[in-house]
Subunit: 351 residues, 2 copies
């Protein structure tokens, strides 16, 4: 049985929502858990989930429903950790100083084989640093990168790197393309995924030095990947490619702008309906439809980003993750383990 290690102390809603989401995921996807964090706090949460249950809006943004799961029937191991790395700490320093922190021990669980993957909703930097030092790099990959799945009008698209590396070279972006393709194929089930370089125009000569050099490198290696050229920001959502390659700075801005635009729009729409009584009535009627839309683009559905390029599975969840998002992160972790996405990335380089 696949066992997922969870940093039970990481994230804005830890440990309450994180433990709840982990248990929910274990129950729904049939995996075992290794909950890493303060033992008494975790036990307390587990008791509560069995007796009172917990509440979740199931990613629909509406009224939460109660979910009760008998945790005694699940395969749950607790690994005690006395320290927590906080959001503001310098990642590299923090993981060296806090060797008994929940994120370091959770990654260790994967390194030693006690668990098969780790889910972390705390500091992204700490999760990355802990994974890099604890698991090591896949041969042929210079720098791990974060792969994030975004909704489009058709099928989901992978953006890589979504924030692990702010300063990149074309060689790094080429490796991101390999990792992104492997992710798209194995986790999203997309055959021969189309790879695009995020750029500010279609033509080969467009963009900054990095985008131009990456275009050239991908073109030269056309046989190995399904490179379809440059992709502009607005095309990301039109499903014209399956993997968007960019440096971690641009990728992170892209993700956050997408999130920010959607949030603003929903807010403006809500306010627009409030303008008069008729609007309020129509707004109420439109609510279930808007909720459906919200569900389609909600990051919670995607559960988390995969840190690709390390010898092990690390799923990085949003710091604001609640139970539903963590549950989906467990699903992503399980799929990554079962499809052997890392082994396939390593294999790509051997071929």
């Amino acid at each position: 049985m696949t066992r997922i290690a969870i940093d039970a102390m990481g994230g804005d809603h830890a440990p309450h929502e994180v433990v709840a989401g982990a248990v929910w995921g274990a129950y729904e996807y049939g995996v075992a858990l290794e909950l890493v964090g303060k033992q008494d706090r975790i036990e307390q949460e587990l008791d509560r989930i069995s007796s009172e249950g917990f509440y979740s809006d199931c990613g629909k943004g509406g009224k939460p429903r109660r979910i009760k799961i008998d945790t005694s029937k699940l395969d749950i191991k607790i690994t005690h950790s006395s320290e927590v790395i906080e959001m503001g700490e310098a990642p590299g320093q923090a993981i060296r100083k806090k060797k008994k922190s929940s994120i370091v021990l959770a990654v260790d669980a994967v390194a030693t084989g006690s668990s098969d993957a780790v889910v972390a909703a705390g500091s992204t930097g700490a999760a990355m640093a802990a994974s890099l030092f604890g698991l090591g790099r896949i041969p042929g990959i210079d720098r791990p990168a974060i792969a994030v799945t975004l909704p489009t009008i058709k099928r989901p698209i992978v953006v890589i790197d979504a924030g692990a590396n702010s300063n990149c070279t074309a060689e790094m972006l080429y490796q991101f393309a390999i990792m992104g393709s492997t992710f798209s194929k194995n986790i999203l089930g997309i055959e021969n995924p189309r790879v695009g370089v995020l750029n500010i125009g279609e033509e080969a000569g467009k963009g900054n030095e990095l985008a131009q050099a990456t275009y050239k490198l991908l073109e030269e290696n056309q046989g190995k990947l399904n490179f379809v050229g440059n992709i502009e920001g607005k095309e990301i959502f039109l499903s014209v490619c399956d993997v968007v390659v960019c440096d971690g700075f641009v990728g992170n801005v892209t993700l956050k702008v997408t999130e920010g635009t959607a949030q603003m729009l929903f807010r403006i729409i809500k306010e627009s309906f409030k303008s008069d009584l008729m609007g309020k009535i129509i707004g109420l009627m439109a609510k279930p439809f808007m909720k459906k839309v919200y569900g389609k683009i909600n990051y919670e559905e995607f559960g988390g980003a995969l840190l690709l390029g390390v010898k092990g599975i690390t799923v990085i969840s949003h710091g604001r993750s609640k139970a539903y998002a963590i549950k989906n992160a467990v699903r992503v972790a399980k799929e990554a383990v079962e499809t052997g996405v890392n082994e396939k990335i390593a294999k790509f380089h051997e071929e």
Copy 2:
């Protein structure tokens, strides 16, 4: 009377929509025009506007209404141009080769003082190159930059650079901050505009080398500008600052991702209402409210981006601009002339 030169041949809907929008703007904002392009085509359009009129949805995305304006009562000068620079052409080469192209002659009109500003909806690169060579740089500004206004939940925000410079230095971004602040104050009427650096985290040490160096430079010059620190992608729309500074690559991706996300959302919302009969009815009732929202975020309302840093006013409109967007671009051009935004940028450096 302020006279606005219009590249009548530039853009996807030129000359029909461009001439219509220019006339509309002249009529509404009381400016004179200098229409640059094929004389017979322009005269034909002017005749049609006077006799039959033209149609516009007025930026609301709904049923277009007919607008008829007696062009003989307006102060319109036509400057014949035999050549057009197409979208695909290399800008630098094209403006040197096609010295009689509509964009080059339209910029010349400003350089010689025959007009006070130029509006261009064709190739952005050509408009930039023509402006740089035709008008020259403002002393103290190394590279002109594109300032774009974006909607937020409160008041509009300026993003600079939105695509003029793909490879930037911190010094350039510092100058963008000066130009963006001057724009925000003079065109948008915002007192003491707050300047933020687009970054992937709040802390000073976050982001790529450029963002870090820009942060430092802005901090050192704190007295000259109202620097408020790093701004993340999702905060752009929360009105936490008034000017967002970034390189043209990141800025362009940001704009296009915003546009793409909004388009996708509207499409998903539309489809969601189509799911059943009840949805169709509610969708119909909700339409006027959605239209109001669409109007609020529609780029056509903002009319165009200003190319800042050149000795003259160049308004760059979206290539897809229709009459309504061009009309608003005329408004932006007029405001830029009247507020003397360029003189104020030049003055900043003298102080």
